[in-house]
């Protein structure tokens, strides 16, 4: 009996989402009066046991197999499924990330158990025996669903950024598990990688200057590029823009694009449809530049300028240069 956290890592480097999952796992274990355990897949993750101990796990199950070198959703899913079968935890928590969802889905499929992805809350009256009530994000977070997970082993992923990582060190036991992987799960491994050129992306940039349908054309993004450049930021866009072929999808902020959390999001000519908003809502500050005072984004933003972005954006760049004495 335990809460088992699936630690996500990339070739031995733990991903930040894992720390939130470990913290949530420890809290839930305490609530149902059991211990938190963790699982790492691949021997290259063995060294993560110190960090896992710092977050309060009492045992780490280290899945070993010669094939477990890089990420592979099916091999990871099968490895975790074998450990779950052995230790029968009450709850299994994965990260609310692309890989996290995929691994938990694989575990769920292999054990024929239900799974609830992107949970934002676990019901505080859950004591480990009844169906577990959860709140999970739907529509990219614009709606929440209260649901009951009715199964002996509850599989969930924790929506990213919902639990702040907090350390609570404990002593940890290490259990190496040699998992048996047959050929059927050995196809889907990362075979090659193209490393991203170093530099800011919409995910890492402290400032994102984003354009919507109101920008009007691909060429009209020039002034947005200039402003972003002056602020050490990067240009983003809405789905209307990528659908028009004005910019590449990697720049798209939204439910089906990228979710971002910059220091400031400057939304130019973006109405703020729900699909866009869920990608931008975690921004620390939002400045909307829009001709429509009633636009959804203007009513939700902390700050707004009412006006034509084609005039306002160059004026902001000019003012920045003036203050810098350029």
């Amino acid at each position: 009996m335990s809460v088992l956290v699936v630690v996500e890592h990339d070739r031995g480097t733990m991903t930040p989402a894992s720390l939130g999952a470990l913290t949530a796992g420890r809290n839930l274990a305490k609530q149902i009066n059991t211990t938190m355990e963790a699982v790492t897949v691949g021997a290259n993750a063995d060294a993560l046991s110190d960090t896992i101990a710092a977050y309060g796990a009492t045992t780490v199950h280290q899945a070993h197999h010669a094939a477990l070198v890089d990420f592979g959703p099916e091999a990871w899913g099968e490895s975790v499924a074998q450990i779950v079968r052995n230790i029968s935890p009450q709850v299994v928590i994965g990260c609310g990330t692309e890989r996290g969802h995929e691994v938990i889905a694989q575990v769920a499929a292999r054990l024929d158990l239900p799974a609830s992805m992107n949970c934002t809350e676990f019901n505080t009256s859950f004591d480990g025996t009844q169906p577990m009530q959860v709140t999970r994000a739907r529509w990219g977070g614009s709606l929440l669903e209260n649901a009951a997970l009715d199964a002996s082993i509850k599989l969930v992923t924790l929506a990213n950024h919902t639990v702040e990582p907090v350390e609570a060190p404990s002593t940890i036991a290490i259990a190496v598990v040699d998992v048996a992987l047959d050929a059927s799960v050995l196809h889907s491994f990362v075979r090659d990688r193209v490393e991203r050129v170093a530099g800011v992306t919409v995910v890492t940039a402290p400032v994102v200057v984003s354009g919507g349908r109101g920008v009007g054309s691909a060429e009209a993004f020039g002034p947005l590029e200039e402003l972003a450049g002056l602020l050490g930021g990067i240009v983003g866009c809405s789905r209307a823009v990528t659908n028009n072929g004005w910019r590449n999808h990697v720049d798209q902020v939204g439910q089906t694009g990228t979710r971002i959390a910059p220091d400031i999001y400057i939304a130019c000519g973006i109405s703020g449809a729900i699909q866009h908003w869920v990608g931008a809502m975690a921004s620390k500050n939002i400045l909307a530049i829009n001709t429509d005072r009633e636009a959804n984004i203007v009513t939700k933003a902390g700050y707004a300028v009412i006006g034509d972005l084609h005039k306002v954006v160059p004026a902001i760049s000019a003012e920045i240069r003036r203050r810098r004495g350029q």
Binding site: G141, V305, A315
Partner: protein
């Protein structure tokens, strides 16, 4: 090559999603419907692969009779066969859906031979379950990768590109295989008039499937606490530039 694409009919919300009074579903009284975005791209990816390698695209959905609209949308851009797995009323949970889809696929393959590729959306826009494709693939005993932003096929192997925080990952899956597609893999084409007319003639095959209810039960939907913002209007037009830069200084993003 023969490709099956599984799509879902979802509402197309604008600025706000409303819930029915009983909290059981999205109030769609004033909403249009669409193919869930990732799956719209999956249809396009399949059509492009068939244009390159030959073969045909079949589209499948699980839904009520209204979901025929989405099957015809897919047919208008190049799918030549359409299959409806009819269900009444509310959406089925992910386990039940995957079970029905895999049974329907097995039935189709028994008569027509195996699909080389089965494409899914990475996750549906409305329920965001991230699991139907994976579950169906495991039931069918086929390799599966989610999150595809590129698919190429050569010599019986599908090469999949997928984006991660670090860069682009490459996966190779032997056919037959299943792949979950993400928006951004392509820009779906608009249907031509000819395509629209052809789509009206596509016969929709109905495949009745029963499947057991899964273990994740929706209790009710709720709206998250609304972000109430007392928007501070910094000004109107280019004259607001100075106030904007003052704000950038205050927030520490202008140095």
């Amino acid at each position: 090559m023969n490709i099956l694409v599984c799509v879902k009919r979802v509402p197309a919300p604008g600025a706000r999603i409303n819930i029915t009074e009983d909290g059981q579903q999205v109030d769609t009284a004033f909403l249009g419907f669409t193919v869930s975005p990732h799956e719209e791209c999956a249809v396009e990816a399949a059509v492009q692969l068939v244009e390159k390698h030959g073969g045909e695209v079949t589209v499948l959905t699980l839904g009520d009779v209204l979901a025929e609209e989405q099957l015809r949308t897919a047919a208008s851009v190049g799918a030549v066969k359409a299959v409806l797995v009819p269900i009444e009323g509310m959406d089925w949970d992910a386990q039940r859906t995957a079970s029905a889809i895999s049974s329907a696929i097995t039935a189709l393959e028994t008569t027509n031979g195996n699909f080389d590729l089965i494409l899914f959306g990475n996750e549906s826009a409305d329920s965001c379950g991230y699991q139907v494709g994976v579950r169906a693939a495991v039931k069918l005993g086929r390799p599966m990768v989610n999150g595809a932003k590129g698919i190429e096929v050569a010599d019986g192997v599908a090469t999949i590109r997928r984006e991660s925080d670090a860069g682009i990952e490459i996966y190779n899956l032997p056919l037959p295989a299943c792949i979950g597609v993400r928006e951004g893999i392509n820009l779906p084409r608009y249907p031509t008039m000819k395509g629209r007319l052809a789509s009206k003639k596509v016969e929709i095959q109905r495949t009745e499937i029963s499947a057991e209810v899964g273990g994740l039960k929706m209790i009710q939907l709720q709206r998250p606490p609304e972000r109430v913002s007392n928007t501070q209007i910094l000004g109107t037009g280019p004259e607001a530039a100075s106030a904007v830069v003052d704000l950038l200084v205050e927030l520490g993003v202008f140095k």
